[in-house]
């Protein structure tokens, strides 16, 4: 562990000096945990993990699909489903405007992208949340895309995976967002009856209604290191208890310790581990 760490950080320093002159401003990344500075390219090459402290930076569907699908090749499904503001919800800003802004800044229709592709040669449907779209909040589109992803998996007899990354329910869709918990769970029962595996992969953060529905319902529940995973947010709990929370509270390792995760996996080993699991689940099945 320590040699690996040493080697990597050494390499980091070398590329550092070499590329410094050629890299324009804004292409640097400073680790939010250990303040180590590397180029964006180095960060991307390292799967957005800090080479020094192993901090897993938040990434979205685009990056996960690149990491997991063979040669980064996949077909996006249901990409034309987009959120609308049926309730005419207005807080300090109309929900309609929030949607337009999020769709414009991310180029996404909503906080969920579904792709089908091969992982080590085996077909797999992955539904991945995009935290950059209104905090990865779960509204009707997230639920619908999961539902259709499950239908697709059942139709093609494929394993199904959800990568969760969400602050929870999307309040601006009110009870409709709440009902996505029931909707996605109901669809998962169909997947289960079809005998197909569901892998729930939780990343930082996975909270609220997402945790209280599909994220916790995997045939296996796995998570990235140190991801915040919980039902109530730490701020709310702290306010309720009026005391500080213990270190590591609601992090992946905490959940593993309390029996709610099957294992915690480094992003670098994710594909290999998934491949083993999928072999176990799917071998001999067609």
């Amino acid at each position: 562990m320590s040699t690996l760490w040493f080697r990597r950080s050494n390499k980091g320093i070398q590329t550092d000096t070499k590329e410094k002159k050629e890299t324009p401003d804004g292409l640097w990344h400073k680790c939010s945990e250990c303040r180590t500075t590397i180029t964006q390219q180095e960060l991307a090459d390292n799967m957005y993990i800090c080479p020094k402290c192993d901090y897993h930076n938040r990434i979205n569907a685009k990056e996960y699909f690149e990491i997991l699908f063979d040669d980064g090749a996949f077909t996006e499904l249901f990409e034309n489903i987009r959120a609308i503001d049926k309730l005419g919800f207005v807080d300090v800003k109309p929900y309609k405007d929030r949607l337009v802004a999020a769709q414009k800044s991310t180029g996404l229709g909503d906080a969920m992208t579904v792709g089908v592709g091969k992982l080590d040669g085996r077909d797999l449907v992955i539904a991945c949340m995009n935290f950059n779209f209104i905090g990865g909040s779960m509204g009707s589109v997230v639920g619908e895309k999961i539902a259709r992803g499950i239908d697709y998996a059942i139709q093609h007899k494929l394993p199904f995976m959800i990568i969760s990354k969400s602050g929870g329910a999307r309040m601006m869709e009110s009870a409709f967002s709440l009902m996505q918990m029931a909707k996605t769970s109901a669809k998962l029962t169909q997947l289960s009856k079809a005998g197909l595996p569901y892998i729930s992969f939780m990343t930082d953060p996975t909270t609220g209604g997402v945790t209280a529905s599909f994220a916790m319902l995997g045939d296996i529940n796995i998570a990235e290191p140190k991801a915040l995973i919980g039902f109530a947010g730490p701020r709310v709990i702290k306010e309720t208890l009026k005391k500080d929370l213990p270190p590591g509270f609601q992090r992946s390792e905490f959940l593993l310790e309390h029996g709610f995760l099957d294992f915690v996996v480094n992003r670098k080993n994710l594909k290999t581990e998934l491949s083993h699991c999928l072999t176990w689940f799917m071998e001999g099945k067609k």
Partner: protein
């Protein structure tokens, strides 16, 4: 009788009536005509106030300190009730009660959130905020009902699942998720009745059924108006607006197709005529069980999945 702020005209009239009656008693006078007239004015005023309740006023009613809770309805509608305790794992959660119930010869499993009726009880019941063991007790009882082919009735009345340290340690999210998942596939009829507050996952954790019904003056949505105000407006001062924006009333929820039925409350609210409310709930339960038993278990489950799967709004543009 406690009055809410919007019931002020009513409160004034009732205190007038009290005065009138005490004067009549003291002076041994027959003032029955005036009393009758005032009583009529009171009822008219009550009807007028309750004709046009705002979403926030309904939220207030759902939390009225005299509002009947699960145990009240159990005591009124069941000829026998044997309470069952514990999740067989950690402890007994007193924020959720449940047990073997007999309603006019119909055996059912009743499970519901329970709030306290005085300061001490409110603490014991944790204000109706369940921990994971509450949801796991509920699931244990539901499985028992399924095993012995008895319909399940749940009473929902919670400001939310408890946001506590131990709750997280013991998997609050997993407990709620598991219940939702398992309720989808219960082979017996499931009726869920929102009798007060229907807050978020804490409500949905015992809220997946063939029929989900709201009493008229209850609310059901993803977050309380106060917390919504705090998060979206970054201030506690916008609860009234939040209540309006969330469209959390029985009328809205029914119009959206997110609940199946609405049970009218007596004018003045469930707490004003609780026995009348209980009777109406009892009738609804018995009639609905009969209706649900017309279809077989597989069809009920399929219909349940279809119902929840169709919830949501979005647009689908051309490729």
């Amino acid at each position: 009788m406690q009055f809410l702020d919007f019931e002020k005209p009513l409160e004034d009239l009732v205190s007038q009536l009290d005065k009138l009656q005490s004067i009549a008693d003291k002076n041994k006078m027959d003032m029955s005509a005036s009393v009758r007239q005032l009583e009529q004015t009171i009822e008219e005023t009550r009807s007028e106030i309750y004709k046009n309740l705002t979403p926030w006023q309904r939220v207030q009613l759902s939390r009225h300190p005299e509002r009947p809770y699960t145990n009240y309805y159990i005591s009124k509608i069941c000829s026998t009730f044997t309470e069952l305790f514990g999740d067989r794992n950690v402890k007994d959660d007193k924020a959720i009660v449940g047990g073997l119930a007999d309603i006019d010869g119909q055996q059912v499993m009743i499970i519901g959130h329970q709030k306290g009726t005085n300061t001490k009880q409110r603490q014991i019941r944790n204000f109706g905020m369940a921990n994971p063991e509450g949801y796991r007790k509920a699931l244990r009882l539901m499985k028992l009902a399924e095993k012995f082919n008895r319909p399940i009735v749940t009473f929902i009345d919670t400001p939310g699942a408890y946001p506590g340290l131990e709750a997280e340690e013991r998997g609050q999210g997993e407990a709620i998720a598991r219940n939702i998942y398992e309720m989808v596939n219960m082979r017996v009829p499931v009726i869920c009745i929102i009798i007060g507050e229907g807050a978020s996952g804490g409500a949905l954790g015992i809220g997946v059924g063939d029929k989900v019904v709201m009493l008229e003056n209850t609310w059901y949505t993803v977050i309380s108006p106060e917390n919504c105000s705090s998060i979206l407006w970054r201030s506690w001062d916008y609860k009234v607006q939040a209540a309006e924006q969330l469209k959390l009333t029985s009328e809205d929820m029914s119009a959206f197709g997110l609940v199946d039925d609405v049970l009218k409350e007596p004018v003045g609210g469930a707490h004003y005529k609780p026995e009348e409310m209980a009777l109406s709930i009892k009738r609804y339960i018995l009639d609905t069980i009969k209706e649900l038993e017309q279809t077989d278990a597989d069809q009920r489950i399929e219909k349940r999945i279809e119902k929840f799967s169709s919830m949501g709004f979005f647009e689908e543009t051309e490729a």
